[in-house]
């Protein structure tokens, strides 16, 4: 100690002086970990500018500039278009880069703000005085005191300790608490017992020590600076978007290169071909998409925040939606984290008390004649009391002085039998013996008018020892064996529900039997020959909303696993109460009891449920846990350590699940971090848990997670809609170039206009799709399989590109040709016109009427064509945004204009008079209308087909949930073999609801077994098209056994039939 004092120039009793501390703070800097330097802002910004799509855009901009330069060099002053385009492209890249950077900056800031939310305080002795200072102000040589629950504020050499234990798990991975004492036990400072490390938690006890390292110079500081380079794992949605961007960029380059070559072969000069390449890239890349996705995610994050889920990482929103397993903590998450009276036993009957948080449940029968005495005992034999000044507060929310059980009884008494304080006033206390662990009971004696009343409560067996009789219907009876049996039965039953059982009894004494001031010990002798009044059992009751939420999880195909440190019996009881162990399922123990077999002879596979304790878990062979998880759909883990929590999470992940973990304690933080999405509790949660989590539940309520899941699924669906919408218009943007190059028509749609569509008009509708409400069955689907169910899949792309996109293109060309024809350029003249049309020296080009046009006049006409084509795309996109609102339900079912956002989006972007519409002519809006209508009608027919024939395997992707073209029922695709309770989620019914004569189909196919997916297709297809007289449909009947039949064909069939029927 002396050495230390000298080394750090301090005193082991008085600490540093304030001045010295300030000087050292000046010298060494604050005691805080410098945030990982990682990447400076500029580099991160640079990274935003150098993504896949951005690189393409840079190339495009460069080509533009070169083209402009060459044109300038050739003395062509006619067009600065290329320059404008280059500037616009660079602006787009920079602006979206700024946007991305801002988002990233904001999310890192959120995390930082969480850190700063609670500045850590440290108790420090300076100049002999004990002070609370900010932990960042600690310096070398400071004398600090720590106690259980604190975080160690710096590296500390322990000088004195009382039962101090620290959790070094964050540092060394050891999960057991470690003792800290002044003795040096090891050479290595990591091993020795007399050093406590910065940022570890002190679990219990107290210690005093000298600061020997601060900030970066602490052990953890050194590790942190080493580990700062370790990146996070990518969230599923990030993977999806990357996948999508890869595809898009690849296709853009492919198309660009193809047409570059085609243009070269046709004989265009190199520069022109390069410009074509650029234009195709611009047309194909969805410039506004990333912004849309970010906006959609942050909108959902906001919506979640309103429902008490704060999301730290935007992308976690979607992760929650793909969650397939939730490992939930018990205390505080599933339960209310308070004791409450659950049951009473009197007159040989078990009565249930109201355990809801707000006392909204039904009160029990109070008519029994025994009740007055029992309630009196409950009221009087209780040391707890309400804190004063809470008259207006509902009983359940009042603060109480006293331990958990007594508070519960106090509140119970207050609610059931009126003000406790008044009753206690009427029966003043004469003497009492408080509860202690050796007696296991509590006695008090009260004046009751002419008599004295002795009341006693305690563990039932101890209480019974002191009883002579029992109360029935208000009459006292002597004890008899039958009654004893019934009492034991009740005790067992209530105990088996994980409840804590207390017995209550009383005895009337003659006045003066017990004098005031009698020593408590003497009371034990008086308290004999009592009359047993009844039992009361206590439990930490489940939250009212939890069973509903668990049921929702189940129907949503999410498995809820309870992982708790609590006792197995309690854990099982709560699990059963909230539905984690469903009604009717048995644990192996239950099976053993039912069959009267010893546990060893029961095949655990017969049981659906299983409770595994930490010690059993520790004895399991590697891989056995996975086996357990696979065999038992309903699992409860009790008495688990943090290490085991981690193990459970990892096992689930190995089984391919996306795991959400809820937790509040420091001990949960490794599991929270390991989980795909960690959910921390906002009220009960420790800082460590909050930091490790991706999401924080402000109300600690499990039901909020379900809301989160719903929102996560919704956002995935809505993003899908948004992307489908965004993708569609790439075709009508691309097609003009293809026709321009191959058919040599004057350019129908310019690059600037494309950028305008992408970045201005279409942003609003695609964002508005994020506001789309869920289609009814969203929580009846099983979670998406991240490896199979991509954000963008083949049917979605095919439908957008080759069907809707083509319709849109045709609309554009119709409008274009008509607009040209009406100005004097008939379609046949227009074909092949391009070289002369674009000749800047040609000032007298003849149109179909013999009129002569100057170059500028033609250019003006070309711009008009851009506008016309633009309007056509917009008109079709209005139809597109309407059809994208739903994927399965008809627009009429979902409500056409229920969503103001879509309407506002439509209005804002497509209303006449937007800047790009240079000159508005009603006719230009009229021409594409039939195509817009066609899109609406066509998609309605598709949806009709999808609704009538759900669960159809198609396109070789049999069970994509909600593929665009798709099956509402992935649940119809995969049956058991995984975890879900069979039959809980059959979604929309399969039977055809068609008009008689149209459908002869069999009812919805049952789930084929997993291993026989490519098995013969259900006979449905054949059946549905056997309507006589529809000969063209019959063409399609020729192929009955085709499992990979395109749904489009099928739609076509439906469509044909429809047209013929009407």
């Amino acid at each position: 100690v002396k050495e230390l004092e000298i080394k750090y120039g301090t005193s082991a009793t008085k600490g540093l002086s304030e001045a010295e501390a300030a000087a050292r703070l000046q010298r060494d800097g604050p005691n805080a970990l410098r945030p990982p330097r990682g990447t400076p802002g500029l580099v991160r910004f640079g990274r935003q500018l150098a993504g896949g799509l951005q690189c393409l855009m840079w190339v495009a901009a460069a080509i533009c500039l070169i083209a402009y330069g060459v044109q300038r060099g050739q003395g062509d002053r006619g067009s600065s278009d290329n320059l404008y385009l280059a500037v616009a492209l660079i602006a787009v890249v920079v602006v979206t880069g700024c946007f991305g950077y801002y988002q990233e900056f904001k999310s890192t800031n959120i995390i930082a703000s969480f850190r700063n939310l609670v500045p850590q305080q440290a108790t420090v002795v300076r100049a002999g005085q004990t002070l609370q200072v900010n932990a960042a102000e600690l310096v070398l040589g400071d004398l600090v005191e720590i106690k259980g629950g604190d975080r160690v504020p710096a590296d500390i050499r322990v000088l004195a300790a009382q039962g101090c234990k620290v959790d070094n798990s964050s540092l060394t991975g050891e999960s057991e608490p470690q003792t800290r004492s002044p003795e040096c036990t090891h050479e290595s400072h990591l091993e020795t017992r007399n050093i406590a490390f910065f940022s570890t938690m002190c679990l219990e006890g107290t210690a005093t020590g000298l600061v020997i390292g601060t900030g970066e110079r602490t052990v953890i500081g050194r590790i942190a600076s080493l580990a700062s380079g370790v990146g996070n794992e990518k969230t599923p949605i990030a993977v999806e978007i990357e996948h999508f961007v890869d595809i898009i960029a690849g296709l853009a380059v492919f198309f660009g290169a193809t047409f570059f070559l085609v243009a070269m072969l046709i004989g265009y000069p190199l520069l022109r071909a390069a410009v074509f390449f650029m234009a195709i890239v611009v047309a194909y890349v969805p410039e506004g998409l990333l912004a849309t996705v970010t906006v959609c995610l942050s909108l959902t994050a906001k919506r979640l925040a309103r429902r008490n889920c704060v999301v730290k990482n935007l992308e976690a929103v979607e992760t929650l939606g793909s969650t397939s397993v939730i490992c939930s903590d018990k205390t505080g998450t599933l339960t209310q984290n308070r004791m409450a009276v659950a049951h009473l036993w009197l007159d040989g009957q078990v009565l249930a008390a109201d355990t809801t948080e707000d006392q909204s449940g039904e009160a029990f029968e109070q008519r029994s004649a025994s009740w007055p005495l029992l309630s009196q005992v409950i009221t009087l034999c209780n040391r707890a009391q309400f804190q004063p000044g809470q008259e207006g507060v509902p009983v359940a929310q009042r603060d109480v002085i006293g331990d958990a059980s007594e508070s519960a009884l106090l509140k119970f008494a207050e609610v059931t039998s009126g003000p406790v304080a008044a009753a206690r006033g009427r029966f003043p206390k004469v003497a009492e013996l408080p509860f202690n662990s050796s007696n296991k009971f509590q006695v008090s004696v009260h004046e009751a008018g002419p008599q004295q009343l002795l009341v006693l409560k305690g563990a039932p067996e101890r209480v019974l020892e002191r009883c002579r009789g029992y109360l029935r219907e208000g009459e006292e009876h002597p004890l008899d064996p039958e009654w004893r049996r019934s009492l034991e039965g009740a005790c067992l039953e209530l105990g088996g529900r994980g409840e804590r059982v207390l017995g209550f009894c009383a005895r009337w004494l003659p006045p003066g039997s017990v004098a005031a001031g009698t020593p408590p010990e003497a009371l034990a002798e008086v308290a004999t020959g009592l009359c047993f009044a009844g039992l009361v059992s206590l439990i930490d009751p489940p939250r009212a909303t939890v069973p509903q939420a668990v049921r929702k999880c189940r129907t949503a195909g999410i498995r809820v696993i309870m992982v708790t440190g609590d006792h197995p019996v309690t854990a099982k009881a709560i699990a059963a109460a909230v539905g984690i162990i469903s009604e009717g399922s048995e644990t192996p123990e239950d099976v053993a009891t039912r069959l009267h077999l010893p546990l060893e002879q029961v095949d655990p596979r017969q049981a659906r449920a299983r409770v595994v304790t930490g010690s059993e878990l520790a004895a399991l062979a590697p891989g056995a846990l996975e086996e357990l998880l696979r065999t038992h759909p309903e699992m409860v883990f009790a008495r688990t350590s943090p290490q085991q929590k981690l193990l459970i999470v990892e096992s689930c992940q190995r089984l391919g699940a996306i795991v959400a973990v809820t937790g509040d304690g420091v001990n949960d933080s490794p599991a929270l971090k390991k989980a795909d999405i960690g959910v921390a509790m906002g009220i009960a949660g420790s800082d460590a848990a909050k930091q490790a989590a991706d999401m924080i539940l402000l109300d600690d309520n499990f039901a909020s997670i379900v809301t989160g899941v719903e929102q996560g699924r919704l956002i995935f669906d809505n993003l899908k809609k948004s992307i489908a919408y965004t993708l569609t218009k790439n075709i009508p943007e691309l097609a003009p170039y293809l026709v321009y190059i191959t058919a040599s028509v004057p350019l129908p749609l310019g690059c600037i206009t494309i950028l305008f569509i992408e970045l201005c008009t279409d942003i609003f509708p695609s964002v508005s799709l994020a506001y789309e409400r869920a289609e009814s069955d969203i929580m009846h689907l099983r979670p998406r399989d991240p490896r199979r169910d991509r954000l963008v899949n083949e049917p979605l792309a095919a439908y957008s590109y080759f069907q809707i996109g083509v319709i849109q293109s045709l609309a554009g060309f119709t409008d274009y040709f008509v607009a040209m024809a009406q100005e004097g350029w008939w379609p046949l003249l227009v074909l092949g016109l391009r070289p002369r049309w674009e000749d800047a020296h040609e000032q007298e080009l003849q149109d179909s009427y013999g009129q002569q046009w100057t170059f500028a006049q033609r250019r003006y006409q070309q711009y008009t064509c851009y506008t016309v084509f633009f309007i056509s795309i917009e008109v079709c996109q209005i139809a597109d945004v309407l059809i994208r609102k739903t994927r399965r339900l008809s627009l009429l079912q979902q409500g056409l204009f229920r969503y103001t956002w879509v309407c506002i989006g439509c209005f804002l972007c497509y209303c006449p008079g937007m800047p790009n519409v240079f000159n508005f002519m009603f006719q230009w809006w009229l021409v594409p209308m039939p195509f817009g209508l066609l899109i609406l009608v066509y998609d309605e027919i598709r949806k009709l087909g999808v609704r009538r024939h759900p669960g159809k395997t198609h396109l070789g992707t049999p069970w994509i949930p909600g593929t665009h073209l798709g099956t509402p029922g992935p649940h119809l695709g995969t049956p058991g073999g995984t975890w879900n309770s069979p039959g809980t989620h059959l979604g929309t019914p399969g039977p055809h609801l068609g008009t008689p004569g149209t459908h002869l189909g069999t009812p919805g196919p049952l789930p084929p077994p997993l291993d026989s997916i490519p098995s013969p297709h259900p006979p449905q297809i054949k059946a549905q098209v056997t309507r006589p007289g529809v000969c063209r449909c019959l063409l399609l009947v020729e192929r009955p056994k085709n499992p990979k039949r395109s749904p489009r064909n099928h739609q076509k069939v439906t469509k044909k039939r429809k047209t013929l029927n009407t």
Binding site: V806, L810, Q822, E823, Q861, P930, R1039, S1046
Partner: protein, 290 residues
Amino acid sequence: MARDKEKRICGQVVAEWRAFLWDPRTRQFLGRTGSSWGLILLFYLVFYGFLAGLFALTMWVMLQSVNPHVPKYQYRLLTPGLMIRPCAEGLDVTFNVTQSHTWEQHVRALHQFLESYNDSVQAARNAACPAGRYNEQPDDAVPNYPKRACRFERSRLGPCAGLGPHGDYGYGSGRPCVLVKVNRVINFFPGKNKSINIVCAAKHEEDAALLGPLNLFPPNGTIDLMYFPYYGKRVHVNYTQPVVAVQFSNATANVDHHVECRLNAAGLRTDDERDKFAGRVAFRLRINRE
């Protein structure tokens, strides 16, 4: 998962691709069986056929609104363009008086252009119209009745008519002629019933002295109103565009002259910044002498 992928060796990847291309076991090509491809093909055939039909129908309906004789809209042609002959590249009329090969091409072009203006041709094809007013020919009862065109005789261009033995439009003597013509626009009535003419001048006033006097033919560069309106190439078959010839009688040699001609008509804007040829035309003239 990701790691598993990395571990797969190259050969497996190739094999997978090959299996994707053609899987002999399931007889699948690119992940589909032949009949599946066939169905898709059939579907798209029908689908696109239907779309093509719809496209054709819409086009047909909309083209019904297009009159074959008169364009529906003429918003881009409010001011007709002006152009010169000879239509040298870059509107740059440069030649050397003494070297005939430098201007022969211009002369040839002018000859060719003026061929249809020959008095004989005009007399044979076109009618003599009353001067000074529009030659309106309303359709009485018979729609789109063929219209008569008014004569524009080549001889009106005086020395710039290119007639006579030399017929070199003054190029050989260093007094070159340039013809200015107005673009055809259907139903265009310029000048609001007042006479219109072409005015030419040096682009920059200070150069006017160098450019010297300009002679315009017909006199004052007048374009008679009888050449308007134009009724379109179908009904107005022999329409002859009026031209104005500008002769640079004494332009300084070996100097670049920037000349601008404008159509001077009431109510016609000729100062559109974007369109340098709307109602005006600028060209460069350089006469080289040794």
